[in-house]
């Protein structure tokens, strides 16, 4: 294997799994039910304040990716709101240092799934966010509450008479 890069990461980008364990877990679709996030962001709390999903997940209506917010997004509000709280102070300090939040994936398909999911057409088709992500008003840190396997997708596509051709999602 080649030398690590100057970032301490592998110098080659490849589809290969880095270890047998990683390959094993990917094959059997073993994923942790919960992931540690850099901050314990509460969806519940923010939705109660009448924020909506698209305030932070800006791309969801326009493109394939919903997007995960940077500290810049947090501080649009939190430069003035709840500035006395330790977690907000921590986020403010991060921004001052130029360090961003490294969100981890909650769902996340393995690369071998070859799923090219696009958010925008689903939003346009009137699919509610909660259909796939659960009721976020009931969640603090986002968790995997809906099991999005292929049957889940196919059933919905059938019900809504959307295409179930393989190339609809896999290409």
């Amino acid at each position: 294997m080649a030398q690590p890069s100057r970032w301490g990461t592998p110098s080659v980008f490849t589809t290969a799994h880095r270890s047998a364990g990683e390959a094993f877990r990917a094959f059997f679709d073993m994923r942790p039910d919960e992931v540690d996030q850099p901050v314990a962001f509460s969806h519940q709390l923010h939705l109660e304040k009448e924020l909506v999903c698209t305030d932070c997940h800006e791309g969801v209506e326009r493109g394939p990716v919903a997007g995960l917010p940077s500290v810049n997004t947090c501080l649009i509000c939190h430069s003035q709101i709840a500035t006395d709280r330790p977690i907000i102070q921590e986020i403010t300090a991060m921004q001052e240092k130029g360090v961003d939040l490294a969100w981890r994936r909650v769902y996340g398909y393995t690369r071998e799934a070859h799923v090219r999911f696009e958010h925008a057409p689903h939003i346009r088709a009137g699919v509610d966010c909660s259909t796939c992500h659960g009721d976020m008003k009931q969640q603090t840190v986002a968790r995997r509450v809906v099991e999005m396997d292929m049957a889940f997708c196919v059933n919905c596509h059938k019900a809504k008479q959307a295409s179930n051709d393989c190339l609809t999602c896999h290409f």
Partner: protein, 714 residues
């Protein structure tokens, strides 16, 4: 979320639940706050200009967000930033017209190349052994400034030299201003295939020191003397678009395309008729055509105007270029010449083009003058279906100095901007040795190549996608084209735009420039460009006729029986693109070869010498030899061998270093006298089989099956 929604939300107050912070996982790389506003997953198309050749194609880059590993304040980390993912031709650009060639597509890899230089470097070992250490910009600039200060202080500013690739526009103008203010001589441009001979001849014939725009779309009869206009010559994308129209643009009308050249090129492959000539006799054929046209009274000699008077014997109908004489000299039969001449006049609009190998002879200028006169004779200058010269405010300037002038002046300090003369000059010209003797060399290029490896200091430029770019092409469209574009993406590394570095250097000099350069950044230069430099005084517009001179070849025919015909590689061009993996793995259209060099040999010659496909052969001139695998081709005559230029770099990133062979190195250092450009088609060689296949000939295996008759040479 925007401000307005924010105000609404702030009106709602309340308490929040206690939040626990988890911090970063230990082993995770730091994520930096993005420096730009990006909507995730949404592509934005940003204009830029392809820098890989002088055609100046406008491109659009598809920019999308992505995670890139970067350094910020010396700290490694990852950040989300806008990244160019794909290049397309810009539909709004009159040259590229929404299309882009293979090389332009691959320009993306310049920015993301794994061996790109990311910080300033200072040489640590012996000159040329490639050992460098990273230094800060402050240190690097300080060193360059002190070197310049020292020379200026000693009154030796004239010993500062600048060597770049041929460019036009404000970047080049700024370099000129900088050198002038410093008291240094004008910058020198160098490229192997620089078309100086064609421009020179066009100035003589038509008063335009410029390459022509070809109105192929309306041409009905095209005779092309060796110019690779569909591959690598002049403005290939614009010419490709026009060629498509010439072929099938109008129902029921299809032009005839005759290619006159000793080896069938990729362009020649598309011709309706291939006329084999001896190297260096293309002009003889052109004059023979003119002879027949005038003899038959199809056009009067005076129709050619000034372009005609430049050719000795024109007014008298070129009596020395009878078809029989052309047959004897060029090897084209008299009947064929008669037929071509009559067709050429009858089925207009007609167009004759010359370029590339046909001009790479010591008699290049007179060859070009012959074709210019032929065009003028049939009225195809500034006419539909003919040649024209793009109206431009900044036509190419006749170079004030050549590489030879630079070398012979023994400069004390050399600034190199991407030019690679160590690779692209014959060994016998001893350019590399001369450069090694220069006490201090600084390079702005993004890669360590055969020339920049000699540098003492490397001040890496941004890639074109990270820079302000300009397009001011000299040809390729009927109308004037001029555009500038801001950077398409933020710089990945601690690189700096070369023009900004020059401006910074000018501010740091201990003796300030007088008058100082009035700009802080290159962006300001683009907004308030320097007054166009006074055009070099037009050469005394001599209209005295030029007498035909036969091409001369280095090496006697008995010892060196073959003409060596180097040609621009479809993928790697003049070798400056050999570092891009997409182009290395691009199968050559004529041979399907990838990642290698080869020698094209006529089947009969190969049989005589016992050479089979893939066998290693040695090509030797009086000045050296190269080895490469053989490819047997029906597209080359028994008197010549051909080799693509592009491989054979000693140093040029992991993908090109030590790969293949460089035919330029064995050429005789013969120059076209009027322009000083290398006559790269003027060397004779001998050929010997030196062994069986060594595995270096890599051919693409894919081919349609089940057709034995199509496999033959498939």
């Amino acid at each position: 979320m925007d401000r307005r929604r924010f105000l609404k939300v702030t009106a709602i107050t309340g308490t929040s639940a206690a939040l626990a912070s988890c911090g970063h996982p230990e082993n995770q790389i730091i994520r930096f706050v993005p420096e730009e506003e990006l909507t995730p997953g949404i592509a934005v198309w940003k204009p830029s200009v392809c820098p890989l050749c002088s055609a100046g194609c406008g491109v659009i880059a598809r920019v999308m967000d992505g995670d890139a590993e970067v350094f910020r304040n010396g700290q490694p980390g990852v950040t989300r930033m806008g990244l160019a993912r794909k290049l397309e031709g810009d539909p709004a650009h009159a040259v590229s017209q929404g299309r882009l060639c293979a090389r332009g597509q691959a320009a993306l890899q310049v920015t993301y190349h794994p061996d790109r230089i990311t910080t300033p470097l200072r040489r640590t070992g012996e000159r040329g052994n490639g050992a460098f250490q990273e230094v800060s910009w402050d240190e690097a600039l300080g060193e360059l400034v002190s070197r310049i200060d020292e020379l200026v202080g000693k009154g030796q500013a004239s010993a500062i030299a600048f060597l770049g690739r041929p460019r036009r526009g404000q970047r080049q103008a700024l370099v000129g201003e900088f050198l002038r203010a410093l008291g240094a001589p004008a910058p020198v441009s160098f490229a192997l295939f620089d078309d100086g001979v064609a421009r020179h001849a066009n100035e003589l014939s038509f008063g335009r020191y410029q390459l022509p725009t070809l109105d192929l779309a309306r041409t009905r009869y095209l005779i092309n003397f060796g110019a690779d206009f569909l591959g690598t010559w002049n403005s290939p994308v614009a010419q490709g678009v026009a060629y498509g129209r010439m072929r099938q643009g109008q129902p029921g009308v299809r032009a005839k395309f005759v290619q006159v050249e000793p080896r069938v090129s990729q362009t020649g492959a598309s011709a309706d008729e291939w006329v084999v000539v001896r190297p260096g006799t293309e002009g003889v054929v052109a004059l023979g055509l003119a002879h027949v046209i005038m003899r038959e009274g199809l056009r009067p000699a005076t129709a050619a105007g000034r372009a005609g008077t430049l050719v000795d014997g024109w007014a008298g109908g070129l009596p020395q270029f009878t078809p029989q004489e052309v047959e004897r000299r060029a090897g084209v039969t008299a009947e064929r010449l008669e037929r071509l001449a009559k067709e050429f006049v009858t089925y207009g609009p007609s167009l004759a083009v010359i370029g590339g190998a046909a001009l790479a002879h010591a008699n290049g200028v007179v060859q070009a003058l012959a074709v210019n006169a032929l065009n003028a004779l049939v009225g195809s200058v500034d006419a539909p279906g003919g040649i024209s010269f793009m109206p431009t405010e900044a036509p190419p300037a006749r170079p004030a100095r050549s590489l030879r002038d630079l070398v012979s002046a023994s400069p004390q300090l050399l600034l190199v901007d991407e030019a690679n003369p160590v690779f692209a000059t014959p060994s016998a010209a001893r350019v590399g040795e001369a450069l090694r003797n220069i006490p201090f060399i600084a390079s702005f290029g993004s890669f360590i190549d055969d020339t920049s490896v000699l540098a003492d200091l490397i001040l890496p430029d941004h890639s074109f996608l990270e820079s302000w770019t300009e397009s001011s092409p000299e040809s390729g469209a009927m109308e004037a084209v001029s555009m500038t574009a801001p950077p398409a993406m933020r710089p990945l590394y601690a690189t700096r735009a070369m023009p900004d570095v020059l401006l910074e250097v000018s501010r740091r000099l201990s003796r300030p420039l007088d008058p100082p350069l009035p700009w802080q950044t290159f962006e300001e230069v683009l907004q308030a460009p320097p007054a166009a430099a006074p055009a070099a005084p037009a050469r005394a517009a001599s209209a005295s006729p030029v007498t035909w001179a036969d091409a001369q070849f280095d090496g006697d025919a008995a010892t060196y029986p073959f003409h060596l015909l180097p040609y621009a590689s479809q993928a790697l061009h003049d070798g400056s693109l050999a570092h891009l993996p997409w182009l290395q793995e691009l199968p050559d259209p004529m041979t399907t070869a990838m990642w290698c060099s080869w020698v094209e040999i006529n089947a009969h010659t190969a049989r005589q010498l016992g050479i089979a496909l893939g066998d290693m052969v040695e090509v030797s001139s009086a000045h050296g030899s190269v080895r490469a695998p053989a490819v047997i081709s029906p597209g080359i005559g028994p008197e010549a061998v051909a080799m693509p230029v592009g491989q054979g770099h000693e140093t040029f990133t992991r993908y090109a270093s030590g790969r293949g062979a460089n035919p330029i190195r064995v050429l005789a250092p013969v120059e076209e006298p009027a322009t000083g450009t290398l006559a790269w088609s003027a060397t004779r060689v001998r050929l010997a089989r030196v062994g069986g296949p060594d595995g270096s000939l890599v051919l693409f295996a894919g081919a349609t099956r089940e057709r034995p008759d199509h496999h033959g040479r498939g």
